[in-house]
Subunit: 269 residues, 4 copies
């Protein structure tokens, strides 16, 4: 369906502070960007580049005083995520070159230390999609969702020990467990329609059956209508905002709604 999402950030800086934002989704396999806006107040110069994962990054200098940034997007999204329980494991020797990096350890995903837990969880499941789904279910059932307990340095190992976290932590654990079974996995941040409570969201994708599939350990059931904003190995790659100086973060408001189709301008003739 057509989804309209927005994210509004309010900041206050004491001096000029360079910053990089990742708040501009691109069209992709299961989303086409129909409309988007990127608004700042006061107006400042913004430049944009593409990082090594293909994410759009906006660079700007936050001016002293109150500053607001809003990103709005309307995207044509898949109502359902693809579920293919038979999708087979891809032997490492068949993993495409560009996917290999998603097998390695990364800052928040200590795959090397989670092999034992992963082995327990996937025991008895067929190789591939079914294993990842078992991992997703296990996280959903065993990790408590709670704000404010974890922070930006919390890793998959920490979650394993404390059994509590937020979407980002759930995703890290899913990724780490997959990688410890030699299943490539990557982090996704973005919007989810009817997420409750509404916020920026994070989930993960696993590479089985020769393609990426979506898994969200915070939800009881597979749910579509997602807008992916950025991809990476883990949260270190996909911070929606990076500041290089002191910034007072005031508020973040996220809204996701169903949208009406837009038609072309009637022609003159």
């Amino acid at each position: 369906m057509l989804i309209q999402a927005s994210c509004q950030i309010e900041l206050e800086a004491l001096a000029h502070v360079p910053a990089v934002f990742m708040l501009r989704p691109r069209s992709g396999a299961s989303q086409f960007i129909v409309k988007e806006e990127y608004i700042v107040d006061p107006l400042v110069q913004i430049t944009e580049y593409t990082d090594s994962y293909g994410n759009l990054c906006q660079r700007l200098m936050i001016p002293p005083g109150p500053f607001r940034l809003e990103s709005r997007v309307t995207a044509d999204c898949a109502d359902q995520i693809d579920v293919h329980t038979e999708a087979d494991w891809v032997p490492v020797s068949n993993v495409p070159d560009e996917v290999m990096q998603f097998l390695l350890q990364s800052r928040y995903c200590e795959a090397d230390k989670l092999g034992g837990l992963a082995a327990e969880i996937i025991q008895g499941y067929p190789l591939g999609y079914a294993q990842v789904e078992a991992i997703r279910q296990w996280i959903y059932n065993n990790i408590r969702y709670e704000y404010g307990v974890t922070n930006s340095s919390t890793s998959a190992m920490d979650i394993t020990l404390n059994r509590v976290g937020v979407c980002r932590d759930f995703a890290h654990l899913g990724i780490a467990l997959c990688r410890s079974c030699n299943i490539p996995a990557r982090m996704v941040v973005g919007y989810l329609y009817q997420l409750d409570p509404m916020d920026l969201h994070a989930w993960f994708e696993a590479y089985v059956g020769d393609r990426w599939y979506t898994f969200d350990p915070t939800q009881s059931q597979p749910r579509g209508n997602r807008i992916a904003v950025a991809y990476g190995r883990d949260a270190a790659d996909v911070a929606f905002a990076s500041y290089f100086g002191g910034v007072n973060f005031k508020s973040l408001q996220v809204a996701v709604e169903a949208a009406q189709p837009v038609l072309p301008t009637p022609s003159n003739g």
Copy 2:
């Protein structure tokens, strides 16, 4: 200033025809995309990829019957193009690796055959920007602008002989003459505010003084307020539409206007 541009295409196909469009500008050195829309009627699935020049390409299947596609964009553009008459020639050995390809010949720019003409035109001018400006002026003064005389196979050599063409031909000639002097040059297609008559436009950029500068041989004076939509070696790389089957092209409407700034949504608090 803030510029709002749109391009509406009407087509009619007899059968399903695969197509690739390049109608989605990206933020760049002298433009930031504030808002954009990409609308098709009837609705079809669209996917997007980035070509080797960084251009966004939209792939879709044109359905049988009437089909309309509209791209709208609002961009914060430089009012003036940078003019730096002292900008020096960059010796080939100092040209950055990624710029080297813009020294080579390409389909519509037979640089190897235009060395004599280029030598005449630039005689007496200091190396670099001044030479490119001399080339731009020479084209403006010596080539007649006229629709319908040239077509999609017309090259820089043809223009040199016939002395007539449209913006695309003017750009090809400028590019070929620059390259024959070992000055890297590339094609740009996009929008120009107050172009008369309004249409999709083409111009070129030359690499002197260690950066790209804009040159438009169709205009008497340097003019800013441009939105670049795609870059390439010549028109072969930047076709705004490529069809892989029979399509009846009905109309193309382009509009470029001044726009009002957009403000963030008032916050709830």
Copy 3:
């Protein structure tokens, strides 16, 4: 088998002349580079970059006086090229994004003008590999191989008219005919074991059955033991040498032979 190839170029320049060479093969699908050397005399500084097709390009300043450059390579090559007569045509809508560029026209391959000839040649053949093989056979049977008739500006159209050319021209015609049937095709330059007379060689690849296949219209039969040195849309992208100034080309010597396996240095223990 293990193949050892070398290419030696002798030049003479009157002044310092910047140049770019493409004479360094990379490991790829059907070749692994076991050993390579890149030798110049007199010694000059060389830098290297990768172009947008993934080819390695060597930049250097040719000094005044005699200059020799030699590239030697030992590669583990496939004895046979893959032949799969059932490989199906890939509908344009299924062609991978990065392959799309090989459907477009390019400098030496006027696909738009060769649709009629292509239709004649492929009539009655199943879609896909069989069509490309029919094209390859037709070129082999209808174009006369002869040195010195064509030059660096000869295109596929020219060959169609004059019916004579060298490997590069044969490849251009094959590429143009494939593209006119909406089959992606690209140029390859490199070495072929037991080519007679020995020289740098050129052939083409076509994308059918979801992968690239090798076709060589200069040979009566499929032959393996090839070392691909560079890939591109056509010869404009894969010149083995580009000079930006006056250079006197003295000689080019190419040798390709069977090689003996190299073993690791015996260990100390």
Copy 4:
């Protein structure tokens, strides 16, 4: 000078184990690869790809039983590394897009936790190169070089606390301290002529004065004659070997020596 380096690895696997090696240097700013060999025994099929940092990665399946892999390279290297004590700090807003990622935290480089230490070390030094050199000196003077104390999970923070480590740890600390001062820094692994004891080596580069400079905190003085083999954000990106299964690592032998120039084959004429 011309340097010849080699690295020989002996492994033993019980079953077929997929692996990725990064043992093939590329030509770069201060090194040109004149000759290289990549040898395995027994012979297995190897494929190669380029990662997002531009490093060449060799993929192969390690067979059961003893396995040896040897990489040999001859490179023309800069005798001295560039030292430019006046090179200025690059404000974050001027850092090139592709360098931005080297400002962020990474797995082994907790820049956010080392700001206090960095501030102490660089106090009183001019911004830029001089600060990085102060950091390098501080590490050299305050961290003890010792094998076997640290391991593959040791991070910059760990080193700060324990004050002992190997080249890889020294580099991580240098990188983390630089980044905490908003100076981009990256990891380099490779060879150093006359390193004592000889081994694979690691150091770091910092981006000041609009380019990358080499810093080696394990050495008392700046030393040239280095062959960089791979670049990354930290050791997580540049493992010389990654195994996806059980492998018994037997030995690693490294040799680096001065080499004699190679001349082209005498021509026939």
